[in-house]
């Protein structure tokens, strides 16, 4: 978790969060990915200015689980029913996942939750 904390400081996630709060003020936000990165963000940052209507994660949602970290748990199959305006993908290497999600949910805006910067995205593309 400490690695993530350092990483989030390096990319100035606090500033990114403020900017997103303003930009997506009245939009319904769905978080995709409830792993360690999200846990770190949830513990260290204030997500209250984002209107988060649920968290989706294929590994952590099932019929028995109602909430994840205090937010409604959403099974990936139910995303269309919930109808978010924007999906923020909370995974470190998100490009492949985002492109794949876009095929399933083509009308919804899908972007990474954390902007890791040009250089890191470029490195990820080279590994694709």
């Amino acid at each position: 978790m400490q690695n993530f904390i350092n990483f989030l400081k390096k990319v100035n996630f606090e500033k990114q969060l403020k900017k997103m709060g303003g930009k997506y003020k009245d939009k319904k936000v769905l978080i995709y990915g409830a792993g360690l990165l999200f846990e770190t963000i949830n513990n260290n940052y204030d997500l209250s200015n984002l209107n988060i209507i649920g968290i989706a994660d294929k590994n952590k949602t099932s019929d028995d689980i109602q909430t994840l970290y205090g937010y409604p748990a959403v099974k990936p199959d139910d995303i269309k029913k919930i109808n978010p305006d924007i999906i923020l993908v909370c995974v470190l290497n998100s490009i492949y996942l985002i492109e794949a999600l876009k095929r399933d949910y083509d009308k919804i805006k899908i972007i990474p939750l954390v902007d890791k910067g040009r250089k890191e995205f470029f490195k990820e593309i080279l590994k694709l």
Binding site: P76, I95, R103, D104, I111, D115, F121, F122, E124, I125
Partner: protein, 347 residues
């Protein structure tokens, strides 16, 4: 003795990593009236121990052992002893929804026991599980299932694996349908092609039940030599089959559309799942050349393509232009797209 409703046949070869998940999903089916046939194809790892353990705990399980002879021979061995009304094939690295057999048999009873039932499926990759729409059908009234005899249309886009649904045993017996032994990769494609055509009527169920695993390293799709050449053989056998059945003219464009889209899918998957491995490229080039030989006199205007990109890919095949085809496939397209979206113009 009353026949079980479903016989499940699972060919197993060195599947110790994924076998328990697969078997658990079958023994815990909500429909208990099933027969479970496990065919060990000469495994050398812990698979044998695992299946023996399951056999002791569940009386519905039957074991067959054979010397390593391939998945086709294993499935055939299972078919020989199967007694169920319907047959289901499950691969040892996949798993199924616990209500699969209950719901499909319910639908089968509602539609007077059709010869073949086809469903959607889930594709499981390292980055997520996605529902794959296995056949396109304008389900305007949003029904759960539809009985159709419009094979010409459905088979243009329906998926090729013999696992995504159920087959009626009496149909397989009537036409003596088995998996081709001399084809190691793709024998199930040929089986599905023949069985669907023999079925004449298919029950389409608009729900996924089967989890097709693309994430584990040593699955059936991967560990084979001459995979591409086998597929070319399958394409040729499919054509021979419809000629034999005197339906070539009727099914010509269905066959061409389906073959082309399967070729594109295999090619793309070979690139995407394995990354840029240079040794793959000569094999893929040969695959494209062989596909070019088969398809050079096909009429692209009479075939159905998902979009313009797929049509352009086919035209590149007809030109035997490997580089052009490569550029138009997913692997390079996503890199270009990602470069554009994430690096040049980030959020």
């Amino acid at each position: 003795m009353i026949k079980p409703k479903v016989s499940v046949i699972i060919p197993i070869y060195n599947a110790e990593n994924t076998l328990e998940k697969c078997l658990d999903s079958i023994i815990n089916q909500t429909l208990s009236d099933i027969e479970i046939i496990l065919v060990d194809d000469g495994s050398t790892d812990k698979s044998l121990e695992i299946i023996q353990k399951y056999e002791q705990q569940d009386s519905r399980i039957k074991l067959i052992h054979q010397k390593n002879n391939g998945a086709s021979a294993a499935r055939n061995a299972g078919l020989k002893i199967a007694e169920g009304e319907y047959i289901s094939f499950v691969d040892s690295d996949d798993w199924i929804d616990k209500k699969m057999y209950e719901e499909l048999i319910e639908q089968a009873n509602a539609y007077n026991s059709p010869n073949a039932i086809r469903t959607h499926h889930y594709s499981v990759t390292k980055t997520g599980t996605f529902t794959t729409i296995a056949f396109s059908y304008l389900n305007k009234e949003n029904k759960k299932a539809v009985l159709t005899d419009n094979l010409k249309e459905i088979m243009k886009t329906s998926f090729h694996s013999s696992c995504y649904g159920l087959w009626k045993k009496s149909l397989l017996d009537k036409y003596n349908l088995f998996f081709a032994k001399d084809i190691h990769n793709g024998s199930d494609i040929l089986f599905t092609w023949q069985a669907l055509i023999y079925s004449k009527e298919i029950l389409l169920v608009f729900k996924p039940y089967y989890y097709y695993n693309l994430a584990t390293p040593f699955s059936l799709t991967r560990a084979i030599n001459n995979k591409f050449l086998d597929l070319i053989k399958v394409f040729k056998c499919q054509k021979d089959f419809i000629i034999e059945q005197n339906i070539y003219k009727e099914f010509e464009h269905t066959y061409q559309t389906r073959t082309c889209s399967y070729f594109n899918m295999v090619f793309k998957r070979s690139l995407v799942l394995r990354g840029l491995r240079l040794h793959r490229y000569p094999e893929l080039k040969e695959f494209l050349e062989k596909m070019h030989e088969i398809s050079k006199d096909w009429n692209a205007d009479k075939m159905d393509f998902e979009n313009l990109l797929e049509k352009q890919k086919f035209l590149a095949i007809q030109e035997n232009n490997f580089i052009k085809y490569l550029i138009k496939t997913w692997a390079l397209d996503i890199k270009i797209k990602a470069l554009w979206l994430y690096v040049l113009f980030p959020q």
